[in-house]
Amino acid sequence: MSEPVAVPACAIPGTPLANATAGIMACVHCGFCLQACPTYLALGDENDSPRGRIFLMRSLAEGDLALDDPSVHTHIDRCLGCRACETACPSGVPYGALLEATRATLAQVVKPPLRARLILALFARRGLMRAVVAAARALRATGIPRLLARLPGDLGFAFAMLASSASPLSRARYRSRGTGARGSVSLLRGCVMEGLFAAANRATERTLVANDYTMVPAPNQHCCGALHAHAGDLEGARTLARRNIAAFEAAGAELVVTNAAGCGALLKEYGHLLADDDAWSARAAAFSARARDVSELLAAAGPRVGAPISYRVTYDAPCHLQHAQRVHAEPLVVLDAIPGLERVALVDSDQCCGSAGIYNLLEPALSAAVLAPKIAHIEVTGATLVVTGNPGCLMQIGAALCRAGVPARTVHPVELLDASYAAAARSGR
């Protein structure tokens, strides 16, 4: 073997990245992550692969590269943060945590783009955010976004996203009843979910009640902070995390549930996010231990079977459910409880759709390149409904289907279960 590579002490002490070097050292460079990485597959450059990005992180930590090196920013910015590499990595490299630490470190030197800062500022301001989504909802109700969805460029895509956020199912009306014996649950309503996917939130509440959970409101909740954490604004994320922990503690329910995979992934990582905050670390860890995706709760309950509804459906796994939360089977268990569905398997359903939080707004070209094979695979299934449990994915895939003229819509799995329960109520079962 060669002379050992001498590794100097950390060149950037005190930075978030410096605290994450153990994770970097876990990478043995085997390359098993390459084919799991959407940006490597799209670009064919190892600098845009997990192994290459970890190499860049290590070079930053060792001082071989400066924090303002433009190519480092390029390749770290281009990462979707889908964390598919984590479910491919035999060594258990905590890639998501490394990425957030790296972005936080780089942000100390070069500010994120203005567009990103504006979006994050909006999400951190509850009242403003509500006003904006209310305006978006009003716009959606006019039907104009659907008319303008085929406009070329980012603007057309944005209209298509808004149009595709409308539920494809008719509104479910039934009284949901259960014993409540499975315990009490508070819903994280979610900025985008409550704003644009309120139907999915109501469906979540009804289906959980029908499966014997008791819903407890948690009034003072905020944005979960996931977008902030992914963008490297760890302090912003921590502030929001503290508010949410307090709000849900005050609500007093046994569990916290979300139907947005991206939010859920961060809720489960509050413990990690606040690990160094003595006043909050224990509370954060306890909070994370209580956080669940709605599909986990429904799967644990059985769940109760509804009445037949006939759709040809295919399931696409949100990355933050599949890879970050490692929740694979539960959404399928939810679909199993719906008789009448014709299920078609989706090729590469565990690959990212390119939505990735606000990635599609910051890196539209690469996002579209990652999305293209997804839409092609969906078209082959002939499904009329694409089922996925995350608002970003619902809108990203929905918009692309709409613009490509594919006769399929996106829907949250819980909404489908709710429709099945509504059908059962109508038929008096």
Binding site: S2, A26, C27, V28, F32, D45, R51, S71, P90
Partner: protein
Amino acid sequence: MALHTETPSRASGPQPEQAQDRRGALIQTEALASLLAAIVGERGVLARPSELSAYSSDGLPGYRLRPRLAVFPHTTQQLVDVVRLLARKQCPFVARGAGTGLSAGALARGDAVVVGLNRLNRIISIDPLNRLAVVEPGAVNVTLSRAAGAYGLHYAPDPSSQTACTIGGNVAENSGGPHCLKYGVTLNHVVALKVILPSGEITTLGNADGEAEGYDLLGAFVGSEGCFGIALEVTVRLTPNPQGVRTLLADFTSIDAGARATSAIIAAGILPAALEMMDGPTIRAVEASIYAAGYPADASAVLLIELDGMDEGLDADVQRVEAHCLAAGARTVRIAANEEERTRLWQGRKKAFGAMGRIAPDLVVQDAVIPRTRLPDVLREIAAIAELRQIQVCNVFHAGDGNLHPNIGYDSRNPDESRRVGLAMRDIMQACIDAGGTITGEHGVGLDKLEYMPKIFSPESLAAQCALRDAFDPERRANPGKVVPVHSCREWVGA
């Protein structure tokens, strides 16, 4: 030099530089980068040191060499134009697929250009009737088997890195894999190669009909570690999926017992599709990973044994293998109940190398072959060396064909430990050679095994290898400094 040749086309590739650079003088890196970009586009060339870092190591990260440039052709024609440009500029180059190799074979020293083949990843054709496929060099091993699966066929060589490694890289290293025990290595499955020689000449070696055409130059090219040229198209044989497969996991309280069972199975005339061994530390690393396969965590060794073939008689073989394992001292022998369990057992084995990152931040893996009957002795000797040098060795290897892979985890920031690991690697290699073995089974020589070549080859033999290389690459620009020690070529080339 071969039957089908095309001379370098004057029409292809960029022309403007020819006048100024007739003499083939050394060209400035910046100028070379722009000439390459004229062929492959701006985004197909990496020139910044920060971006070349990712290409400064492969699957064996103890070595780092930063290349001069990296270029990524997207089409065969671009690849041809790139190689011809490099020939005109007399620039050395190193072909690289996925960079999963374990002998530092895909590293380029500072005067050489990395030619990345990963974007040339198309499966050009599959001919199910003749059981042949034609692929580009960057096609990923497992994608070929997936595509062939539609016809009940697969590509048999299955290196553990098959989810990432490329067929071109497999050709360069003559890669093996667990199932090579029964099905043979890459060489046994490649029937024809369309290659570009370092001079820019295109030629075809072998043919799809399998007829001999004079000397077996295909056999020379497969396993030449990128020193003879670059494959443009690889024609491989596809293998029908077996009618039946049985996968067994036998666990032992000593490595010795596992080794005895291995010998007994082969001596009984049974030829398993695969016969793999993992020792205790490896088992525990895998079980801690996302690929946890349910191996017994307290075992000192497990054997993963696969039998395949016609359903008829398969279960009788299973019973014989089970009996041999139990006779050698196996605690339990478990048979995978379904495809899911079989996949899990194999994933654990195939990802074991990657899982070693749990043990220590750095990792070296050795690759040596010994006569199978010497397995118990050599494994004992490796354990003694580990104790002497105060290092931890994890063994995960192809027991059925005596192909050892001692993995040594260490921390490169600790100079003393790094030194001891280096010494242990040499001791282990010497022990394998002394046992009548050789220095590489499937990882290639690359840079890592260079120093061992004179231990197993005579000067005359090394000179003969240099002469063969000169027939393909007289300027020695393709993967320079690899495989055969340079001094051998200098000293012995005239002998």
